[in-house]
Amino acid sequence: MTIIADREVCIGAGQCALAAPEVFDSADDGLVELVRPHPDDADLPVVREAVALCPARALRLRDGG
């Protein structure tokens, strides 16, 4: 599983960093930073929640590495 984060679309709401702090962070510019672009299966529920919470729809999941 790979997370694709579009920093051009991100508005820095920080919802992902709050929902799954071990996977997402906010960088110094306030936009999304991927701490773990390839999360474990165990992280999937919170990663999916983060994707759904993103108000700018800047996050996508892709199968495989």
Binding site: G30, L31, E49
Partner: protein, 407 residues
């Protein structure tokens, strides 16, 4: 142009008064009928109300839905021409702009309100909250939780962040209240807007000459000096940040105290386990939805099918946040207040590119304010019957005019 579907069914008169702890009874009936239903605004125009959570999120992210108040025919509650209302105040007010224009301004501010930056502000917010509680405890009983704490805390925090002298608070606090309370008196509301605007015009002029170590000073040095921002744009941005930065949280804090006092078993759980506070704050935001539709009035700029109806280009669209946040399709037992719910997908801050820029500051302020208040004053209680409290039903942002409390 196809005739709008708006005329085909009877329209619910709008706005309707909340209960005060629950949405107007009409919302559940409207939500049961369809995801979009016609509502009739006071001046007679019929627009669409969006009643359900999924459609609220979908339409708030749809580029065919505009928030640009300079468009001809943009819906207003009073029927006034929105272009006249915003003629002198539109520059820099990016809440009333569509992408890509909107994004230019928002991107200048994202780092100022990031999760990281707000985390760093927490000790300062805590110190301010405790100082206000110290003053309350040293003062007379009953205290007014609105003036002494709920309004004071976010005002102090936003003043310090932006670089607005707190001793000037009377200028913006009273006029912001007038601005939101006078929804049916557009000329008086506009006068209040222009007074805050005039004050900020002077403040920005002073900062241009001598920028301080604050958000305004940083914008002057990094954006104004480089020619990226004009003076009037900077004034508009400051207006938006100052007004949105205090009035919303100022209403949330007292209403949240009341909700927690009405649910003593959940308040006791929070006192036992402070780790529950972040979840409680999101549940308070969902359950109370103090903004409801007030930041989510829009206009369609192309036809949009929704279920078996179609929003036509030019139709007004009001997203009812309070209805979406009580939608049984998104939240099981939506009318139950439950701090253990763990539902962060409410739309109390909106959704889409306009979702509240200050949402993480608001969350931090609410968590710190409520926790400190109940830790320092464990037997805090209302000093009046709840039925007698002066709820601000007429204001688009729901709150209390005063809230006498004792201990």
């Amino acid at each position: 142009m196809t005739t709008s579907d708006l005329g085909t069914s009877p329209a619910q008169p709008f706005p309707v008064q909340r209960c005060p702890f629950d949405p107007p009874a009409e919302y559940a009936a409207m939500r049961g009928t369809a995801p979009i239903v016609p509502i009739r605004l006071p001046a007679g125009r019929t627009v669409w109300a969006v009643t359900r959570h999924a459609e609220a999120q979908r339409l708030l992210t749809d580029p065919r839905i505009s928030t640009d108040t300079t468009r001809e025919g943009f819906p207003t509650l009073t029927g006034e021409d929105s272009r006249e209302r915003v003629a002198d105040t539109h520059p820099g007010m990016f809440i009333d702009m569509d992408p890509p224009e909107h994004d230019v301004y928002r991107r200048m501010l994202i780092s100022e309100f990031s999760v990281k930056r707000i985390r760093a502000m927490r000790p300062g917010i805590e110190k301010t909250a405790h100082e206000l509680i110290d003053a309350m405890l040293a003062g007379d009983r009953p205290a007014d939780l609105v003036a002494d704490f709920g309004l004071a805390l976010p005002s102090l925090v936003i003043c310090q962040l932006l670089g607005v002298p707190y001793e000037d608070r009377e200028v913006f606090q009273s006029r912001t209240r007038r601005m939101v309370e006078l929804v049916d008196a557009p000329e008086a509301a506009r006068a209040a807007v222009m007074e805050i605007h005039g004050y900020l015009d002077d403040l920005v002029t002073r900062a241009e000459a001598e920028p301080g170590d604050d958000l305004l000073g940083r914008l002057v040095r990094e954006r104004r000096a480089t020619g990226e921002l004009r003076h009037d744009e900077l004034v508009g941005m400051m207006f938006l940040l100052l007004v949105a930065g205090h009035e919303t949280t100022a209403n949330m804090i007292p209403v949240s105290v009341l909700t927690l006092l009405r649910h003593p078993e959940q308040l006791a759980a929070l006192k036992d386990d402070p780790a529950l506070w972040p979840g409680a704050v999101d549940e308070l935001l969902r359950y109370q939805s103090v903004v409801d539709w007030a930041a989510f009035d829009r206009m369609a700029i192309a036809d949009i099918p929704v279920g078996d109806r179609t929003i036509r280009a030019g139709d007004g669209v009001f997203v009812l946040g309070f209805s979406a946040n009580r939608d049984e399709r998104a939240f099981p037992e939506p009318d139950a207040f439950d701090i253990h719910r763990g539902a962060r997908n409410h739309v109390a801050f909106g959704y889409g590119v306009h979702q509240c820029l200050g949402q993480n500051l608001a969350r931090a302020e609410l968590e710190i304010a409520l926790r400190a208040l109940f830790e320092r004053i464990p037997d805090l209680r209302a000093a009046a019957d709840i039925a007698d409290l002066p709820f601000r039903y007429g204001a688009p942002i729901f709150g209390l005019a005063a809230f006498p409390v004792t201990w």
